[in-house]
């Protein structure tokens, strides 16, 4: 049975959270040990998609007024406040599923299993009714509707995005306990706001367990769905230092955060 690192990182800033994910991917590319990580955000933070154009959909001045970070994954912006976020990474060849869509479905299995375990009706939009309209990425992730969105009791719950690079697969996703509609109204232009009738959060679904309990459920279902064993782990000293470098050089860097399209080459840092 393949062993994956399991990190429960707790709360941190957006830049640190993205830097830790980046560092774990680097470690995995050298040691080939997949990882699963759970974390929260403090302070609340807006994350932008890798290529998201900040001039569309966001209200003026958002980048100056709120904590903002740019992700390595695509898609639209997410306001991370009262939520649990997961990230995972592995070698594509480690999963007995190939293809982008098939891998995505396989990976999201642990989310669907968790929602079903809690008694909710859950599935991909494409499997639950008429095909939703497909289209461009919306400025606000939760406003978008597409075939591979996860719907719970008929509404979109959270958002997930995947990045594939050099034979490695990275995916992270946001699971909102409670969407802060008043905050969303200060971030996105009205025409780009999610429609309340089409999205949901765990609070609205009646979920009352603590964050750690949800983390336990997700971890347990990931093990079952992928046939893996999660081993508790923490960042090592070298990884902590490396994450610090990424947080400083990239994820706190206003050029990285604000640009709509970036240079293809990442900021080069010496490999420790």
């Amino acid at each position: 049975m393949t062993k994956w690192r399991f990190l429960r990182s707790g709360s941190a800033s957006g830049a640190w959270n993205m830097a830790v994910d980046h560092t774990l991917l680097e470690s995995m590319s050298r040691q080939f040990q997949p990882f699963f990580r759970l974390y929260t955000w403090e302070p609340a933070c807006l994350s932008l998609g890798r290529f998201q154009n900040t001039s569309t959909g966001l209200l003026p001045g958002v980048l100056d007024r709120f904590p903002v970070v740019r992700r390595s994954t695509g898609g639209g912006a997410i306001w991370h406040d009262r939520e649990l976020t997961y990230s995972l990474g592995f070698r594509a060849e480690d999963l007995d599923t190939s293809g982008v869509k098939a891998t995505y479905e396989r990976l999201c299995g642990f989310l669907l299993a968790t929602w079903k375990e809690l008694g909710y009706e859950a599935g991909f939009a494409k499997d639950l009714g008429p095909a939703p309209s497909l289209g461009a990425v919306t400025p606000a992730c939760f406003a978008g509707t597409e075939a591979y969105d996860i719907l719970v009791d008929g509404r979109k719950l959270g958002g997930n995005a995947q990045r594939r690079e050099r034979g490695f697969v990275f995916q992270h996703g946001s699971i909102p306990f409670r969407l802060d509609w008043s905050a969303l109204g200060t971030l996105f232009a009205p025409e780009f706001l999610p429609v309340p009738e089409k999205v949901t959060d765990l609070d609205s679904l009646g979920y009352r367990e603590a964050t750690d309990a949800l983390g336990d459920r997700l971890a347990s279902n990931l093990e079952l769905c992928l046939g893996i064993l999660l081993e508790p782990s923490n960042l090592g000293p070298a990884e902590t230092e490396r994450a610090d470098q990424w947080a400083y050089a990239r994820y706190s860097n206003i050029d990285w955060t604000s640009k709509g399209t970036g240079t293809l080459r990442p900021v080069e840092l010496p490999v420790p």
Binding site: K101, A147, N160, R164, E165, L264
Partner: protein, 122 residues
């Protein structure tokens, strides 16, 4: 005549150089493409490093060219209209055109017939 890498990137000689792109099968698997970042003209690219990034609705993936070479043209039509890649990945939606291609890189590539036979058999 197009030649394909095992992972589904193609290269084809044209009058002015070598065009490279992504197979119909790969693009279909990605889904609706929403953004394409192409390299700068003059960049040296090689199969072992990403030359472009293609973002679809659920996954962003690196594009590795099947051969090494120097970028002499990028297809502005496809970067300006990413959906074109879904419509015609092996035609109008080529990604970059290379010069100074390393001839040895072509040797392990498969003909279109051989590549399709392989991927559809698997």
């Amino acid at each position: 005549m197009k030649l394909f890498s095992l992972s589904g990137e193609w290269v084809e000689a044209v009058e002015s150089g070598w065009r490279v792109g992504l197979s119909v099968e790969n693009v279909s698997d990605l889904g609706d493409v929403t953004f394409i970042e192409l390299p700068l003209v003059g960049t040296r690219v090689a199969p072992d490093s990403p030359a472009a990034v293609i973002e679809a609705v659920k996954a962003a993936t690196d594009f590795h060219p099947p051969v090494s070479g120097t970028v002499r043209l990028v297809n502005a039509a496809v970067s300006g209209n990413p959906g074109l890649l879904n419509q015609d990945p092996e035609g109008e939606a080529w990604l970059i055109e290379l010069a100074n291609v390393v001839p040895g890189d072509l040797e392990p590539l498969l003909t279109e017939v051989a590549w399709r036979a392989k991927v559809h058999r698997e």
